[in-house]
Symmetry: none
Subunit: 216 residues, 4 copies
Amino acid sequence: MSPRDPLSPRKRPTQRRARETVDAILGGAARVFGERGYAGGTTNRIAEAAGVSVGSLYEYFPNKDAILVALGKRQLDEMSRDVAAVLEAARDSQLALDTLMRRFVEAMLEVHERRPDLHRVIFSEAPHPPELHACVLQLEETLAHTVEALLERCPDVALADRDTAAHLVVQTVEALTHRYVHHHRIHDLPREAFVNEVVELLRAYLASADSMRSSS
Amino acid sequence: MSPRDPLSPRKRPTQRRARETVDAILGGAARVFGERGYAGGTTNRIAEAAGVSVGSLYEYFPNKDAILVALGKRQLDEMSRDVAAVLEAARDSQLALDTLMRRFVEAMLEVHERRPDLHRVIFSEAPHPPELHACVLQLEETLAHTVEALLERCPDVALADRDTAAHLVVQTVEALTHRYVHHHRIHDLPREAFVNEVVELLRAYLASADSMRSSS
Amino acid sequence: MSPRDPLSPRKRPTQRRARETVDAILGGAARVFGERGYAGGTTNRIAEAAGVSVGSLYEYFPNKDAILVALGKRQLDEMSRDVAAVLEAARDSQLALDTLMRRFVEAMLEVHERRPDLHRVIFSEAPHPPELHACVLQLEETLAHTVEALLERCPDVALADRDTAAHLVVQTVEALTHRYVHHHRIHDLPREAFVNEVVELLRAYLASADSMRSSS
Amino acid sequence: MSPRDPLSPRKRPTQRRARETVDAILGGAARVFGERGYAGGTTNRIAEAAGVSVGSLYEYFPNKDAILVALGKRQLDEMSRDVAAVLEAARDSQLALDTLMRRFVEAMLEVHERRPDLHRVIFSEAPHPPELHACVLQLEETLAHTVEALLERCPDVALADRDTAAHLVVQTVEALTHRYVHHHRIHDLPREAFVNEVVELLRAYLASADSMRSSS
DNA sequence: AATGAATGAGAGTTCATTCAT
DNA sequence: AATGAATGAACTCTCATTCAT
């Protein structure tokens, strides 16, 4: 009746059956988008892959993009959860800077390796509705905060602008792991060597004594 | 009649007029893709924007994706040319490491800023035919070689694996400038501060004394 | 299991609750059809507006058109009742022809003005199942009979074919009031002027001395 | 490019072939709408009936309703032309009032009888976009003007408000002929008798000596 | 070589109707 | 009796591509 947000799910699935249907749809969408790309992920194919009728699909999602957004959010939540878990674990133990970074890089790598094609479709091939973009930004913000908190406890880190550094670290790790997985395995570096290299990049940056660079 | 490579331009535009038509089509495609995204860039719209009939468009390109590929190659050539020019210029003069990197980062930023929307469409929104992918890899290879050659002359760079480092530098700069321009201006950093920060990241990495890390 | 008349209500609502449900559905249908037209009146929306589930709706009506028919009949009954009441009242008193006609026209106008949108949807926008058509004919027949009976008592009416005249009067009044309300307020005539004009049209016709025209 | 009127034809068919296609589409639409009603007149069926592909249909009409509007306008133009021709012919000759009216009624009857089903679909079953409504009003206005001009020359017509009377005459004839053809052949009156009756109705009204009724 | 009208498979989406609960 | 999730045929409309001119 009221003009609804055209990308948010249509109804909250209260009953058990409904929740299962929504899950099935997201599962089908993940499979189809991953295998056939955004354009190839037609609503009919998604419904079929989900073992559900198109009608049911539209019962829960107002349009195709809403499915993509829901899927993207689900992915981001998963990433957030997994990476956060790793970083939280690191927080308590007194770890050296490079061990910390290594954990972070490996967590991000794993997250990207989980469903690489789907990830690529959601976060680069498909249209990026602002709602999803906001979620990405939020994830990055959260990660940056956690990273910053970790850096705070590292004795060997001396930075003028810890906030900015944390953001740059997050961006760099996100970008490089994404590229390593999706695009070009970066000079055919084996995985371990790649991790070493990225860790060294970060370590050198964060441990750098030059705390004079401006950041405004 | 024989099965042709479906993405290479249909005929070598030997004649002058033909060349102009091809240019017009690519120009139209650049405009339309940039303004309306990949899906919105219909062949009819491209033809219209190029001031040419659809029929003519198909005279020179076997299908829509061939246009995308040609456009992507053109972009990559341009990038290659511009960035190479900057780096070549740096080669002769005896420049400090960070000045070098600054030049590189700024060249990449400029290249991304030139037609950001088009760039985004070609290199992330659209499907990536392997042929285009190969071109990207080649560009990266070229850049990495040039960077490596520069590093060789830098007295303050001592690296175990200069090759790998050069590749990582290229990937990092490409990724971070792309993200800075397209996605999320990284913690709202002003351009200059962003450049400073990236330069510092690279400088610290390359100047790092720790040349013990393995890379195989 | 036997092939049933597909437009008559599914079960005689003998029980009180059932009757209430049917009323609720018709009420919902009236609201929804009136507000959103025939095509916009989906069975789900009707059920929702009625505060009932679609399942229940189909418990009482075999299909969407059956609802329309029931609603149409309800409207026609109402019209019949209201106009009849006015005419009955006129029957006893000894009224002049034009007063009679004025009463008739005004009653019809009121009936049309009551729920103009719904009326329009039922009687012109929607498909006209024969069953509903029959009801309309019957209403017209009834009205024509009543009018004829009235004319019989009018001293100043001298007609060769009173039956035909009565039918024409009914048709004319129905058509003109419908048009006045729905379509085009006829040259922007204020209501009172419109009524005067129609009354004069009828009066002139009925009082006409020329009783020679044939009607077979 | 610019936001276009969503109901006006998409492109002016300049070439001969194009004009033929448009005509074929309207022809197909007339057939299909007439035979299967508005809802049954699907764009695919229309295209098929027109011997044309759906794509072509959408080349010339932005959506289904635009076809309906174009068809409605064509019908109205035809009506306008035919009825006007009859009335023009009557203008010169010195005709009695009832002969005049008879001509008018018969012309309207013929026009309605030409394609009754199509007429009904366009002017009552289908949605009435304001653009089409405006055309209807214009037709009525035109007819009313012509009728008024005719009445002016009739010696036996004495009316207070010739303008209003002309409009009422037009409305009455339009409504009664429409009903005679479509709905209920009015008490099963044979066509000739019906015409007589309507003519008498109009004659009595127009010739009425009572020119005192107010019209404000 | 160039045109642009024509094509038609297939996309997203709706909604009358059914049926397990 | 009542529910409302599920169904899927059918709809409107798009667009990469072809081909008569």
